[in-house]
Amino acid sequence: MRLIRKIGDWFDQRLQLGRSIQETLEHPVPRQTASWFYVFGSAALTVFVLQIVTGILLATVYVPSAGQAWDSLHVLDHEVTLGWFIRALHGWGSNFMVAIVFVHMAQVFLFGAFKFPRELTWIAGVFLLLMTLGMAFSGQVLRFDQDAYWGLGIGAAISSHIPVLGPWLVSFLLGGPIIAGATLSRFFALHVFLIPGMLIALVGLHVLLVLKVGINEWPIPGRTVRRETYQQEYRELTREEGVPFVPYAVWKDALFSGFVLLSVAACAVYFGPFGPSGQPDPTIIQTVPRPDFFFLWLYAVLSLLPSSLETPAMLLGPMIALLVLLALPFVSGEGEKSWKRRPIAVLTILLAAVALGTLTHLSGYAPWSPVMDAWSSEPIPSKYLKESTALERQGALVFQAKQCHNCHALDGRGGWRGPALDAVAVQLTQDQLIRQVIQGGGNMPAYGKNLSPAETTALVAFLETLHPAGQAPAHDASRAVTPETNAERSSSPRP
């Protein structure tokens, strides 16, 4: 012990940091901030350190070359001792970091921590969120599998919508004319050098500001922020009921950080590493690319937006969101901090959480995507073919062969791009079915040129059988008035 103390003293005589470190560790914080609500920032920092450590370990094997990156991941997974575990830690660490940063942001927003004099702390936090998302996206690219390849394409396609600069931006992003080696190299540089460098600098600034300005006090309804008096009030608060950060508050940070690390490790062991999926070979087109967990909501937004709103939303949406976040401390820099008296703040968080959760959940089964192999892998339920005529069975064959099943579900199987057709005969009359098949509309292609009259007749005959038992199919009441034309119409579909 004495030797260690001597060595420590030797260094401190030269560095003269001991006193500063001790003052920092023991700086007084308001007693109520030693709370479980205040542990998310330190947990995010802990996971970031985990990401740095595991990232360095992965970089000792990973090859940032378009021709070899995918193979090097397989070497990591199957040949390097515990390589799969380090990959899994890094992948799950990424998910946890994004989630914790969002939770931390929601907490400081609800606690009014963005208000005077912590505007810069909030702004640094907003950029830390952006950097974290940038790390998440560039990390997915480094996995360099099919999802990464096509995800890059989606990113480039979105960038190309930017007026005037679009084409140049695509070349800049890709590092050349196509997604290839240069693209991976620059995303490697982004993921390993540029963004982590900025993250470390911003984390330093963020923590420094927390120390200089003080941790946000526990918000109490009625205790409002006023620029003239706040700092004096905060000094009095810490003097009267302050406790040293170490050990009064830090033990909760340490315990929660340990719990988070354990959770990351548990997920890594149980679920394993992410991917890689198929090879990044653009000639393999039998693929259904999906983004990683944290961008699934964006995938849903791009699917659900009307075409006319897509480009403005893609270009202006992120800029508006960023401006709103940056402007928040200046627009609402004073006043009430407690969430109990800020119903709009609570509603905003709830709305954002519900929206993100719903969109992410929707992306899990992507009802807007056709099921590309349903026409050959999902047979028509036998109950729909019992006691059917030859014509109706022929129609069922047309339904399968023309890929109708890719977009329309029967008995819960098949695509959900279009409406399920289990009760279509109740909703549409024979004429309406014929018109819909031939002319399309409502997001369905027109099959007029792709079906022969005989195929259309058979298909419509099959569709007319799709109605719940005991519920009569829809019929055109006017036919009862002109029965003689009815027979003519049903014998030959109109173009």
């Binding site: 290839a180 090879q279 997001n443």
Partner: protein, 180 residues
């Protein structure tokens, strides 16, 4: 020693040193910025696109749409399979062709051809196109990207080399194909 104007000799040297450093920094910045922007500046003029063979015409029976691949003309040794690009070739009749980019015009996912229904379908957001590449349904605002093509010596050539996107379609002909 104080110079006329109120600044000391050392202050003047400091300002001169800062000015010198700024000039040196700017001199260094020019090649650095040029290096960073090299993919945009496109030093390899006249651009990335060039004529590439997709193979002999026999590979593309009339009335059918077939998948074809080509090696991108601008390629690095470490590009691996990413430099192999796929496209859809539709042989309309005689010497009339349409060559479509594999990518959906919405967000670039790879579209698949279904000869039974004569439709291209996108697995991502449900974009659908007719056999001639025109938009049929879904979120795309336009039809599939088409490459310019020509026929020489019984072989089909396309002008390609750049990732097709809505705003880069200037290099990728829209509407009627060009037949040399």
């Amino acid at each position: 020693m104080t110079l006329p104007g109120g600044i000391s000799r050392r202050e003047m040297f400091l300002k001169l040193a800062i000015l010198f450093d700024v000039v040196v920094g700017m001199i260094l910045a020019v090649p650095i910025v040029r290096y960073i922007l090299s993919p945009v500046i496109r030093e390899r003029r006249p651009g990335y696109a060039s004529w590439l063979s997709l193979g002999s015409l026999d590979q593309f029976p009339a009335g059918q749409t077939r998948l074809a691949t080509y090696r991108n003309p601008i390629v690095n040794p470490w590009d691996g399979e990413t430099a192999d690009i796929a496209c859809w070739v539709r042989h309309v009749d005689a010497e009339s062709f349409q060559v479509f980019a594999i990518n959906c015009a919405h967000l670039w996912c790879p579209v698949r051809w279904f000869p039974q229904s004569s439709l291209f379908m996108c697995p991502c957001h449900g974009g659908v196109y007719y056999a001639d590449g025109s938009r049929a349904a879904g979120p795309p605002e336009r039809g599939l990207f088409q490459y310019s093509y020509k026929i020489e010596g019984g072989r089909l050539f396309i002008k390609a080399g750049e990732m097709p996107t809505p705003t880069r379609a200037a290099n990728i002909k829209m509407g009627k194909s060009q037949c040399a």
